[in-house]
Symmetry: D2
Subunit: 446 residues, 4 copies
C-alpha cells in the first residue's frame, strides 16, 4: 500500500503520554486522543499513518463519518476541482449551483428510486443540530412537547438532543434539567419475550400512565453508541404504526447508521416503514466534511423561514463531496460489494466468537456495524487498547464501554480488512492472556 | 477584475422566482435565498458571481464567516495542498499534525502576544455548539443554573443557546420552555442615562430580586444580529468585575465579531477585560469551513473527558485553513490596513447619513461591522432589496430588520469597496424615491 | 337513625339540574357536584342529608378525609370546646399549646409504639403541599433533581406534585412542561410475571438508561386515585432497599390511604419498610379540617428555617381535632373493629363479584379501600350514577373512571354499612339491566 | 380586658429557649416560633396570651389572616352553631347549603355593589394553591407559557407559585429550575423617574427583547412580603391596559392585602382597574380557617371540570366563617372605622419617624399595612426582637428583613392599639439605645 507521506514535523511521541502541546493547551474534555494516543498525519482508504510513520488499520472511520474511507479519490478530486475554480465555499442558505446539484442528485439517486417523498432541510452541519431541527418540526406540527426516546439512545449533546440521549454522565454535564422527553425501553430491553412496542401503545392509551401524548418518537434502528442494540423490523413497524395512528411524528435518527452502514442507504429500508422525519449526517459529505440534513415529509414542513438558522448550513464543499459520494450509489457494483462486506464481517465476527469459546462472546449489530461483547464487561476496553498497540483503531461503545464496535469503511480493501482482523485476533489474545491461539491467528503490527 | 468562471450549467433564473428545484425539494425554512434570489456559482475576494454571470459585491461575507474574503489565495492553497497530500480530513478529537499546528499557531499568534492564558476546547463546529459547551462549563464550575443574557442577544438556536437568544419567533419555534436564563437590559437599553451594569449589580445583591445567583453572564460586545448595538468599555468592565466578585463566569460570545471584525482579533481588546470563556467560530477557518472554538481559563476547565462530544470536532481542513489564516495576524501590514478599513467605513457611512438628511439616518456598530438605521424602520429592508437589484449583497438585522448591516470582507479591495458604496447610494435613492441625488452618486449595476 | 335536621332553607332542587346559584357563580372547574348533584346540609357518621331531607349513605368519605365519619362526637366536642375558650385558631408556625399537645400525642400514640423516629414538618394544610415539601427535602438532601414516580400515580396538582401525577388531562392543564420526574411502571403494570422493582434497579444501574440517578422515589402503597392498584410488600421492600443502597430518598405518599385506611395507621406497616419521608393529610384532623404533615427522618431534616412557608401551617383547630382523633388509636377496640371492617368489606365485595358472574367483576384494593372493576370499563361510572339515585355516594377512580371505589368511614355503623351495600347491589342491577337478582338483594332508597 | 383563661397545662417555658418538645420533634424548617419564642394558648381581638399568662399585642395578625382579630365573636358563634348542628364540614367540591350561602353573600356583598362580574373558583385552601390555579387559567386561555412577575414578588412556595416568587433562598430550596416566568422591575424599582410600566410595554413590543409574549402578568398592589413596596394607581392602570391590549391575562394577587387590609375590600378599588383574575385567601374565612378563592372573569373560565382538584376545597367551616365575616362589609360603621384606623396608623407611624429623626426612618406601605424602614437595615430585626420582649408581636419583611411591618387586626380596640404603639416606641428606643425618649413614650410590658 502506498501511503502518501507527509514531512515529519517532529520526533514521534510516546503513545502512552499526551503530547505536550495538547496537554498544555487543549481542554481536558478531549477523549479519543487519550485512547488512540498518536499524532496522525495522513490517511487513505482504511489506513491511517501517524507522524512516526506507523500505519494503523481504521475500524473506527470517524465514528461512521468516513464510510467511503479516508480521502476517497473521486470525491477528493471533485472537492479539489471545486476549490481550484473558486467555487462558492460558504453561502449561508443562499442558492448555489453546488447545492442545487446536490439536491438534484440526492433526489434522483436516493429518494426517487426508493419511492420516497421528502423535502430537504439544511440544519447546521452537525448531527445534533439536525436532531434539534427535527424536534422543532415535530413540536410545531403537533403543538405537543414530549418526545419519546429510548433507553441507551444517543442523539447528541446540545441541550435539545441531550434530553433524548440516555448516557448519564453526558446528561449530568448539562447542569440543568432536560425536560420534554419520555423514556421508554428499546426493543429487547425488557427481555426477549417482552414486546416493548406493545408497551409503547399501552402507555399512550392509558390516560393515567404519566406519559404525555408525545409530539414525536425518535428511533435509532441500531443504537450505535448505546451498545449496538438493534431493533427488529416488526418492532419498528409497530412503533411507527402506533405513532401514526395518534398523530405522533416518527423520526429515524440515521446519523450514524445511515449512508449505507447497514447495507442499504437508509437503515430502515426493507421494513416497510417510512418515517416522517429522517436525520442524516456523518458520511453524507463523503469526505468527512461537516454536513447534516433533515428529510421531512412535505406536509410537515411547517416552520417559518429562518427560525432555525446557523452559519454553516451552506457548506458547499460538503455539497460537492456529497454530490460525488452519491455516484457510489448509482453504481450497482458498489451495492453488491457492500452486501458482500456485510456478509464477510458477519463471518469474521462469528469466527472470533467460535475461536474464543470460553469468553462467552456475543456478536452484536447488523450490516457493516458489528461488534463483540463478552461476559466480562471490561474486556472490550482492554481489547481496544491492545488492538491499538497492534495497529488497529477500533472503539468501544455502550454505557460501560462493554461493546467493541467495528465500523470499517464500506470501501475497505481486502488486504486492509484481513490485516485489521489479524490484529483484532491478536488483540483479543493479548487482552485475555490466551497467547497460543492468538499467535496462530493474530498478526503483530507490521 | 477577473472572476474565475465556472461552466454555466443552466440558463439563468429569474431573480424574483424561487428556482424550481429549490422550491420543490428544499424546506420552506430557507431564508437568505429568498432575499438574495440568485443561484451563485463562484466568488473571489468580495465579488460573487451568479450562474447568469452577474457579479455582486458582497457586504454580507457569510454573516461574518468570510472575513478574509471568498477563496483567499494563501488559505485556499494550503487547503488544496493538504487535500492533495491525503492529509487527515476527519479525526474526531484525535491528535493530528494539522490540529497541533493550529493550536501552536493560535497560541503563538493570538494568545501569547496578548498575554492571554486559555485552553482550547473544540466543540462541534458551529457557533451554537460552542455556546452550548460554554454554558456547560459555567454551570459545572459554579453548580448554578441560571445564565444572564441580554435583550436582543443572539447566541444560536439549539435549545441551550436558544434560551439565551432574544428573538421571539426563533424562541417560539422551540415548542418547549427555555429555562435557566435571566434576561437583563443591554447597555443603553434603558436610555442613555441609565447604567444597566449598575442594575445588574443591584439585582444580584437584592436577595428578593427574583434573579437567581447566576452561573454566568454571556455578552456580545456588539449585538450583530440584534441590531448592531454596542456596549461601552466601561459597561463591559463593570459587568465583568461585578460578575467576578461573585464567582459568576464571564463569557464573551465573539462568534460574529471576533476574528478581527471590530479591528482587533478579539472584540474586547483594549477594554482591560479578560473573560473566563470566549466563543469563536465563523471566520476562524479563514475559508468558510465549519469550525468553532471555546477558549477557557485553565482553572475552569472542569468537564470530564468526552461529556461534550460531536463528530465534526476534528475538521482538519478547517485546522489547516485556520492555521493559514493566522498568518494574516502575524503581518503588521494586515493590521494597519484593517484599521484603515475601519476608518474608511465609518467615513463612508457618515457621508451617507449627511447625504440623506431628511431620512434621519443613524450610523450604528463599530470597527468593520457598521450599519444604518432610519426613523422609518421599514427602510432597511427596502434598501437591502434595492441594493441586491443593483448588485450589492447587504443584509438587515435587528428584531424588525430595522438596521442595514455591512460586513464587507476585512480584505476587500478598494475598487470593490468603491463599487459597493456606489451601489448602496443608488439603492438608498431607489428605496426612498430620491432619484436625483442617487443618480449623482449611486452606481447602476455594471 | 337520628339525623340532626337543619332548617330547610329552600325547596329541594332537582338532582339532575345544577342549582342556579352554583351554575351562575361557580367556576366550571367544579366536578363532584356534577356527579352527586344535591345540595347537602348536614351529616353524621356515614349518613349525609341534602336540603330536601333525603339521606345518603356515604361511601366516599371526603375521598378519605373523613375516616372517622362525619362530625364524630368526641372530636367535634374537643373542637367546640377549644373554640369556646378562645383557643388560638391561627398561629402561622408559632408554638401553641394545641400544637404541642398534638405533637406529643402523635409521638406517643403513633411513632413510639411503632418504633419509628421522625420529625414533623408542617407544610401548608393540603396534601399537595406536603408532597411539594417532601420533594424539596429530597432534592436538597441529595443535590439531585429527578424523582421517580409511577404509572397511574396521583400526588396532587400544584406544579411540583403535578409532575409526579400520571393523569394526562390534569397534567395538560399545567400549560407548561413538568420537568424532573422519571416515570416507571408500578407493581404489576407490566403483567404478573414482570418484576418492575427489578426493572427499577436495572435502570438505575444502567448508565445509559436515560433515567438520571434520582433524588427520590415516591410511592403510593395503594394507588387510590389511579385505580386501586396495590403493590406487594415484597415489591415495596425491593424498591426501598434498591433506593437506600444508592442514597435515593424513599417517600411514601400516605395521604389517601394513611390514617388507618388500610387497616393500620400507616399503609406500609408490616412490610418492614421504613420510608425516609411520609406524607400525611386527609383524615389527619379527624374532622375534615385542612391539615397536612410531612414526617422526615431526623438526619434528612436539612432545609433552612422558613424556606417552605405558608399561612395555614398552624391550623390549631386541626391540631385539636387531630389530637382527639389519636384517641381512637389508643383504643384497642377501635383497632379490632377496624380489622373486622376490612374483613367484612372484602366479603361483601367478593359476594358481589360472585353474584354477577357474567360481568367479569374484579375486586381491587385492600383494607378498607376496596373497589370493583368490570370487563366493561364504562360500568363503574354507570353504577356510581345509579347508586346516587338509590341514595349511595360512591365514586369512581382510575384514568378512565373504570373502577368503583368504596371508602366508607372506618367507624361506619353496621346498619349504615348494610344499607349502603343494599343500595350498591341495586345500583349494579340498575346499571346492568339485571333487575331480577337486584330486586332480591338491592334496596330501593328508603 | 378579660382574656379567657385556659387551664395551664405545664409550667411556663423560657421565652428564649426552644421548648423541648418542639426542638426534639418538629422540623428545623419552623421559623416564626424562633422569633416569637413563647407557647401561646388563647387569644381575643388583638391580644394573645402565652401559657405563662403573659399578654401580647398582636401586630402580626397571622400575616394578614386575622383581619377581624382573634376569635371574633359573631364569626366564632356562627362556626360553633354550625358545628353543633352537625353541618357538613367537608364536602370536596359538592354543593352544600353553607357553600351556597357563602357564594350568594359574596356576590351580594362584595361583587354586585362594586359592579364586578366574576365566577368563583375554589382551589385548595391555601394562597399558593389559588395562585397555581390562576396560572393554569391564564396559560390555558392564552396557550402561552410565560408569566410576568416582579422584583420582590411573593406568591407562594409550591413549584408553580415559587417560580413567581422573588426570594432567592426560597427559590433555591426548590432544587430544580423554575421555568415559565419573566422577571420585571416593580413600580419604583429603577428609581423615581423611571416608569417601569413603560418598560413592560417596550419589552413586549420589542420582538428581540427576550421576553416571550406572556400568558399573564401577576401583580401585588402592595408587596407585603417583599418590603411593603406599593405601586401607584397610574402604574397599575398602565400595566393592565398594556396587558389587555395584547391579550395578556391580568392577575391581582390580593391574598395578603385583600379583604380590607388597604382600607377597601380589594386593594385595587378606586384605580379603575378590573383584573381578569383575583386571588384571595388569608382573612377570607374571618377566623383563620384555611380558605382560598380565585375570582375569574366568566369569559376566561376555561378549564375542564376536575383538572385542578384538591381535598380541602370544600372547607365548609370556612364557608360559614366567611359568610359571617361578610356581615362586617354590609355594616357602614365598619367601613368608616376602617378608614379611621388607616388614618390613625399613618399618623402614629409618621409620629415615630419624627420622634427618632437621627434614624432616617421611612414609613412604607398603605392603608392598614404600614411599616418602617431605617437607613440601618438591621434595625427592623432588632426592633422586632425588642418589641417581643415588651409584649408586642410585630414582624419584619423584605429580602433582608429590613422593614418592620405592622398588620394589626382591622378591628383592633383603641386600648390595644395604644398599648401596641407604646410598646413599639419602647422597642425602638431599646434597639437604638435611646432610652430617655423611650422612657417618655414607650411602655414597659404591663
Amino acid at each position: 500500500m502506498a501511503v502518501v507521506s507527509l514531512e515529519r514535523t517532529r520526533t514521534p511521541t510516546n503513545d502512552l503520554d499526551q503530547p505536550d502541546i495538547f496537554a498544555r493547551h487543549e481542554s481536558d474534555i478531549r477523549l479519543y486522543c487519550r485512547r488512540f494516543a498518536s499524532v496522525f498525519v495522513s490517511a487513505s482508504s482504511a489506513t491511517i499513518v501517524d507522524e512516526g510513520g506507523r500505519e494503523y488499520i481504521d475500524f473506527l472511520s470517524g465514528a461512521g463519518a468516513l464510510n467511503y474511507g479516508h480521502n476517497p479519490e473521486p470525491i477528493k478530486r471533485a472537492v479539489i476541482d471545486y476549490l481550484s475554480k473558486d467555487g462558492i465555499l460558504h453561502a449561508l442558505d443562499m442558492h448555489t449551483v453546488a447545492k442545487r446539484d446536490f439536491i438534484s442528485a440526492f433526489y434522483e439517486t436516493v429518494l426517487r428510486p426508493r419511492g420516497l417523498d421528502y423535502k430537504l432541510a439544511f440544519s447546521g452541519p452537525t448531527g445534533t443540530n439536525a436532531v434539534e431541527l427535527a424536534m422543532k418540526f415535530a413540536r410545531q406540527v403537533t403543538k405537543r412537547e414530549s418526545i419519546v426516546a429510548f433507553t441507551n439512545a444517543y442523539h447528541g449533546v446540545s441541550l435539545g438532543s441531550l434530553a433524548l440521549t440516555g448516557n448519564r454522565s453526558k446528561r449530568a454535564a448539562a447542569g440543568i434539567c432536560l425536560p420534554g422527553v419520555a423514556r421508554l425501553p428499546y426493543d429487547g430491553y425488557l427481555g426477549a419475550g417482552f414486546d416493548t412496542a406493545a408497551l409503547f401503545e399501552r402507555l399512550l392509551d392509558d390516560e393515567g400512565s404519566g406519559i404525555d401524548m408525545p409530539a414525536a418518537v425518535i428511533i435509532e434502528t441500531v443504537q450505535a453508541e448505546g451498545g449496538l442494540n438493534t431493533c427488529s423490523a416488526q418492532w419498528l413497524r409497530r412503533i411507527c404504526e402506533t405513532a401514526k395512528r395518534r398523530g405522533i411524528v416518527t423520526i429515524v435518527d440515521d446519523i450514524q447508521v445511515g449512508c449505507g452502514r447497514t447495507g442499504t442507504f437508509f437503515s430502515f429500508e426493507g421494513t416497510g416503514v417510512e418515517p416522517d422525519i429522517i436525520c442524516l449526517s456523518k458520511s453524507l459529505s463523503g469526505i468527512g466534511q461537516p454536513f447534516s440534513l433533515v428529510l421531512i415529509k412535505p406536509e410537515l414542513d411547517c416552520l417559518p423561514p429562518g427560525v432555525h438558522n446557523g452559519t454553516f448550513r451552506g457548506n458547499n464543499l460538503a455539497f460537492v463531496g456529497a454530490r460525488a459520494a452519491l455516484d457510489y450509489w448509482s453504481d450497482p457494483l458498489f451495492q453488491r460489494r457492500l452486501e458482500g462486506l456485510c456478509c464477510v464481517l458477519r463471518e469474521r465476527f462469528d469466527a472470533i466468537a467460535r475461536e474464543f469459546p470460553t469468553l462467552q462472546t456475543r456478536v452484536v449489530g447488523r450490516g457493516a456495524v458489528l461488534g463483540l461483547t463478552w461476559s466480562d464487561a471490561t474486556l472490550a476496553r482492554r481489547v481496544s487498547a491492545a488492538a491499538f498497540r497492534r495497529g488497529l483503531i477500533i472503539e468501544t461503545c455502550g454505557a460501560r464501554d462493554q461493546v467493541l464496535k467495528a465500523l470499517p469503511p464500506l470501501t475497505i480493501r481486502e488486504d486492509e480488512l484481513d490485516s485489521g482482523f489479524k490484529r483484532l485476533h491478536g488483540a483479543i489474545a493479548d487482552a485475555t492472556g490466551n497467547p497460543r491461539k492468538a499467535n496462530r491467528q493474530g498478526g503483530q503490527h507490521d
